[in-house]
Symmetry: C2
């Protein structure tokens, strides 16, 4: 019997085998002693448990059965309205017509991949990039290629060369507090990339889920603001409110809207009216600003703790840039360093990280890098884990 079903899988099922991230979660599950810098999940203390019950009460009182019923595929209008000021603060001036609710930013990205990609299409990504996005593009048969980046993000000359060489369906970017590197593209770079998009007639997907977690420096307007007709903008409320709301927000150029909506009908019909109604009430809550402020402050202190311990414990072999926000610190080791090979030793020493290979189209390119997420462990654990990691890296680099 077991043999009968195996050949029935689609080819794409082989393209999305569990990767190092999934394996790591299996390895670390239930290890209370371990400090994990692997997961990108928010701190449990930053989740607004005490705001959600009153928001649910208000949502049910205001909408009644409509909060439990089927709803519009594009999303609840009051939620799309409540998002307009959030978007405007990032340089995105749109009407509710262009705002779509997605089932998390992940749901939005999948919806876009499905609407855009045919087998053999090329998608350009940053080097390194967010690994799960590469899997989504590959699940639709895309050929994913990366272009060189520096501390200010995608290098326009490298992108120009790539777009001049082959037909490209979409460019996928994370311009602000990038996962995994934490870096932010400068306004100048955004303008230069937007020029290339327009010149080559190529669409970009801007994935921006961390920009409200800014610790310092000045906000940079979204890439979208430089080329609104060429950019699909994607954000979520998972990082400042709660991942379990699964509320993603997309700004979709009108030409793509029909395809995105028709496919979303098949993907999940619509995002939950219930979580949309609760999210709308959370966005209207007077205490929200204080909650987000406290969350940003918490992550700033964790970033500082991590950076301080590493600075004291490592001497030049490893380099990093301190991010102005977001959840990630990216370490680059000596050329011979192998973050994949060191992982079992680090786990034995009581600390977990994600090897940089998980964020590279060609895993070998990332062998000497690793990603640390300071979001999830409690502050004292960040310090303890950083000390363990520094010791481990000193010994084995």
């Amino acid at each position: 019997v077991t043999g009968v079903l195996a050949p029935a899988l689609a080819r794409r099922s082989r393209a999305v085998r569990s990767g190092p991230i999934d394996d790591l979660f299996a390895l670390t599950a239930g290890r209370q002693d371990l400090v994990s810098f692997a997961a990108g999940a928010p701190d449990a203390d930053a989740l607004p448990v005490d705001l959600v019950l009153p928001a649910t009460q208000r949502a049910l009182a205001r909408w009644g059965p409509a909060a439990l019923q089927y709803g519009s595929t594009q999303g609840l209008l009051p939620l799309r309205e409540a998002c307009l000021p959030v978007l405007a603060a990032r340089g995105i001036q749109v009407s509710t017509d262009e705002v779509h609710v997605a089932t998390g930013a992940a749901g939005g990205l999948n919806n876009l991949g499905m609407a855009l990609l045919d087998e053999g299409d090329t998608v350009v990504v940053e080097r390194p990039t967010y690994g799960p996005a590469v899997k989504v593009f590959r699940s639709y048969g895309a050929d994913v290629v990366d272009v060189a980046c520096d501390h200010a993000g995608l290098i326009p000359e490298a992108l120009d060369a790539m777009l001049s060489t082959r037909p490209v369906k979409a460019v996928y970017l994370l311009p602000t507090f990038q996962n995994p590197t934490g870096r932010t593209m400068s306004a100048q770079r955004r303008a230069a990339v937007a020029d290339l998009l327009v010149r080559h007639g190529v669409l970009a997907i801007e994935d921006d889920v961390y920009s409200d977690l800014r610790f310092g420096g000045s906000p940079v307007d979204a890439l979208w603001s430089h080329a609104p007709d060429q950019v699909v903008y994607l954000t979520s409320l998972s990082k400042t409110l709660a991942p379990a709301l699964r509320t993603g927000i997309m700004v979709v150029p009108p030409r793509l809207a029909e395809a995105v909506l028709a496919l979303k009908q098949g993907i999940d019909m619509q995002t939950s009216s219930f979580t949309q109604a609760v999210t709308t009430e959370l966005l209207r809550a007077p205490r929200l600003a204080a909650h987000v402020g406290a969350t940003v402050d918490l992550y700033r202190r964790k970033r500082d703790a991590l950076v301080n311990v590493l600075t004291a414990g490592l001497f030049g072999e490893f380099t990093w840039r301190v991010p102005d926000g977001g959840l990630f610190l990216w370490l680059q080791g000596p050329r011979a360093f192998d973050a994949d090979a060191l992982l079992p030793t680090a786990l034995d020493a009581g600390v977990a990280y994600l090897p940089g290979s998980a964020f590279h189209v060609t895993p070998e390119d990332g062998r000497n890098t690793l990603r640390l997420s300071y979001a999830s462990p409690a502050l004292p654990d960040v310090e303890r884990g950083a000390a363990r990691l520094a010791a481990c890296l000193r010994q084995h680099a």
Copy 2:
């Protein structure tokens, strides 16, 4: 600018253009005078608004921040546990290992289509069948073919002939209170179809979201119970609890689990922990049985009202079988009757239905049929709408 993005759509975006269902919702939006038998949405009075707030309170008290955090892709273990007795009552004896939480039954179906289907694969469906499922299969490039059915469901000889003719990737069935016909496959037919699945080594997807809405007669064990290794079973809590919970449940054979989970990571990462926790508490609520009982009773009275008025108002030109449960009555007209052509006239007369063509792989096959959903209009409106419809059909058949 508008021309730039249009050619960038995937081919599948053309395969899922909005169909008659979507057009109809646009046509009828905001018409307060209209009685719509078109939508399959639950009665607003059947949505458990007063159960959801206490369930949310209990969920937040029991799980705290975990109810707002990222969670397992397969779904919350307590929810999977709470589903076991629901499944056992349908002849499905499984452990939580085989139970997967999906983002609605729609999310589960899309997840399965993605895991199973390559371009050019064949999927067999009933004639007629649930139209949106056909769109999902086509969105993955499948060739969808239908086989003949009678009042007891799929005709085994017709299925055997089809499976003997060409390689088939999956058979999609709705054995209980089928959408759109309301019919239920007999136990004998289920056994015969299961035998064919085993003999031909073909997988079936059993879509069963209405079986808890039984008005009379005896429950029939799921097709799954006859061939557990060959059937993926799909259900949801949208019809007895609330669509907005978007909680689907799948029973997935172990051989498919890895692919289903790996792809779900990309589709939406996971179904909302928040709605899963609330759903778990709703399933544990002592008042749930009374709520479901009242819901079933409400729909039984609406079915009776619809059938009574149609029986009094139509004389032999139209035929139907009274369903033992679910939300739909299926009318078959004289050969020359054209339900698509009559729809504008019916809308003018203040009543909406879905033409049967929307439920056929070859729309022309369903021209003389139509689907009536009695779920959504209030009881007096069911009677008023049925009288309008009967008058309309008498005049134009």
